[in-house]
Point group: C2
Chain length 335, copies 2
């Protein structure tokens, strides 16, 4: 165990893990505000990542906590097709956090930052009973991808990330069985939950594709964090419907279904935290899109109807997950 922490010590550690300079950062950490050089549009997003709400220390390693806290934010930049520039970190540390624990968190976060090309430009520290992260990311996108661009007959597609439902299975097994047993049963599902990777590469290729075909106003895009059932209506808009065909569940979902009877399709539909990209695209361009992004899975079509069907059955309007539901306040929920 390392020693307990003072503010100066924490700030020193942060400086040792995160460089404080980048081309687009006019002023980095250490002033009232960071100053960002921008030309046109800046995309901004904020996510909370709270101990015992979004993660547990019992089965996350510190490196995984730090990386995931940043990854779920960078995933929002990917969902806008934005190129990561910088982030601020609001960090509340519990009184018993020690230097070794904090270094693990910062090392994981710094690894994700380097991988994403994003600079830590500022933030705030405090003590609190539990470990809390609030990260705000910002990135550049001259033509950001927005939601609600779909018209009827557009193709709905999913770019993994991880296969739909896999991370949700990982969370479920981690909660029910602990890390060692969960990894034994479904190693890829557990990895999908513990170490999500934002789809920055796919977002870049989608941007090139949209540029080449002048499709920025006609491709809808978002990252899937709350599950397909909850996120799809956000993508297509409230007055549109869709017909979705789910097929080829991941092998670990099928094995889980065989062992427990829990439907693989249900996990694909309702399970959160996939962090793939969910999009819509005009039908006539979809095969071109698939040539540029061969990992893309078609899920169905946008319909001019006020409901969603999945494999031919109407989806009840409440099949999503309210991660704010206070009944589940004490347990880990999807963010």
């Amino acid at each position: 165990m390392g020693r307990l922490l003072s503010e100066d010590h924490v700030l020193g550690l942060i400086d040792s893990f995160f460089p404080n300079a980048a081309d687009s950062i006019a002023v980095g950490r250490g002033d009232d505000c960071a100053v960002i050089r921008t030309d046109k549009n800046l995309c901004i997003s904020t996510d909370l990542f709270l101990e015992d709400v979004h993660f547990r220390r019992s089965y996350f390693r510190p490196e995984e906590i730090g990386a995931r806290a940043l990854a779920v934010n960078v995933s929002d930049l990917a969902g806008s097709g934005a190129e990561p520039l910088g982030f601020t970190l609001g960090l509340a540390l519990p009184p018993k956090a020690d230097s070794e624990f904090l270094c693990g968190i910062l090392r994981g976060m710094a690894g994700m930052a380097a991988w994403s090309g994003i600079s830590l430009v500022g933030g705030d520290l405090s003590s609190a009973e539990r470990l809390h992260f609030c990260i705000t990311v910002f990135g550049r996108a001259d033509h950001p991808f927005l939601r609600r661009q779909a018209v009827p007959e557009d193709v709905i597609f999913y770019v993994p990330g991880t296969p739909l439902g896999l991370a949700a299975l990982g969370l479920k097994l981690l909660e029910e069985k602990g890390r060692a047993d969960a990894e034994g049963l479904s190693p890829r599902a557990v990895a999908a939950h513990l170490r999500p990777e934002p789809c920055l590469g796919a977002a870049r290729r989608l941007r090139s594709f949209a540029e080449r075909h002048d499709l920025f106003q006609r491709i809808g895009l978002m990252d899937v964090s709350d599950g397909l059932a909850r996120d799809l209506p956000r993508l297509i808009g409230k007055n549109r419907g869709a017909s979705i065909k789910l097929e080829n569940p991941d092998a670990e979902l099928l094995r889980h279904e065989a062992e427990t009877g829990e439907s693989a399709f249900k996990l694909m539909l309702s399970g959160g935290e996939a962090y793939g990209l969910l999009g819509t695209c005009p039908k006539s361009f979809f095969s071109d899109l698939q040539s540029d992004l061969p990992e893309t899975c078609p899920l169905g079509l946008v319909r001019n109807e006020p409901f969603v069907t999945v494999n031919g059955r109407i989806l009840p309007p409440d099949s999503g997950f309210d991660h704010f539901s206070f009944a589940s306040a004490a347990r880990v929920s999807e963010e």
Copy 2:
């Protein structure tokens, strides 16, 4: 008491309090990222505002909590001379929060947002045991005011905000005596703590002044949140010193000194949360600056020495306040 809350209900309330459009906001709330139209430099800052660390519900009204959570962030924009544009809100609500309580918070925050000219562009919601805010503000500043611009013989000045030490006295009395008694003893001190006002007007006048005299590289500026003793070294840089003369303590500080023996000067020096602007300016321009900002108080001069003197006595290097100190984790501290 209102009813308990669902996520949709909270989002609906937020929409009812905060408009979702402004000239510089290309895309507001409701997509993966907000999109900000910018031309040159964007200033960004993040602050945590945590229940039982930075505030207590026992003596804050919900409106005051909401307004203060945003005000301390906007104050960082003032400290950079930036014009407020937008903010994101990370909000964790305790399970027992009800609609009436939340409406109070949002009403206070919306009032501060309207007063500051800043738009809520996004954020994240969660449940948590205590009420936690993490706000990221951003604003435009073609020539932001930075720290560490001072050379020896520059004038150190303070623009209230509130008189130095007053908000710290307010916090002390609220903690020790509760709201009713504290307000009876020192109403302005209590108001200074509960309802700080960011110095946006002064920051604007300072910007015009700097523009007229081409002084952006020669005026150092920050907002005072941790107290003069702790913030002054951050303003002038580690290798500079200063000679400070504190005088004319506020009448409520003097009365408190007379009643308790606690030094008014000590509160002026170490007390946090003043949220005025602390600056440095070349001596030859200071009388012009005072003509433009008559509320400005000269505090002393920057010195080419490695220590700070206050009223002729050397300031011990540790007289600041470590708000991260875990010994005080359970009590309210300055942020």
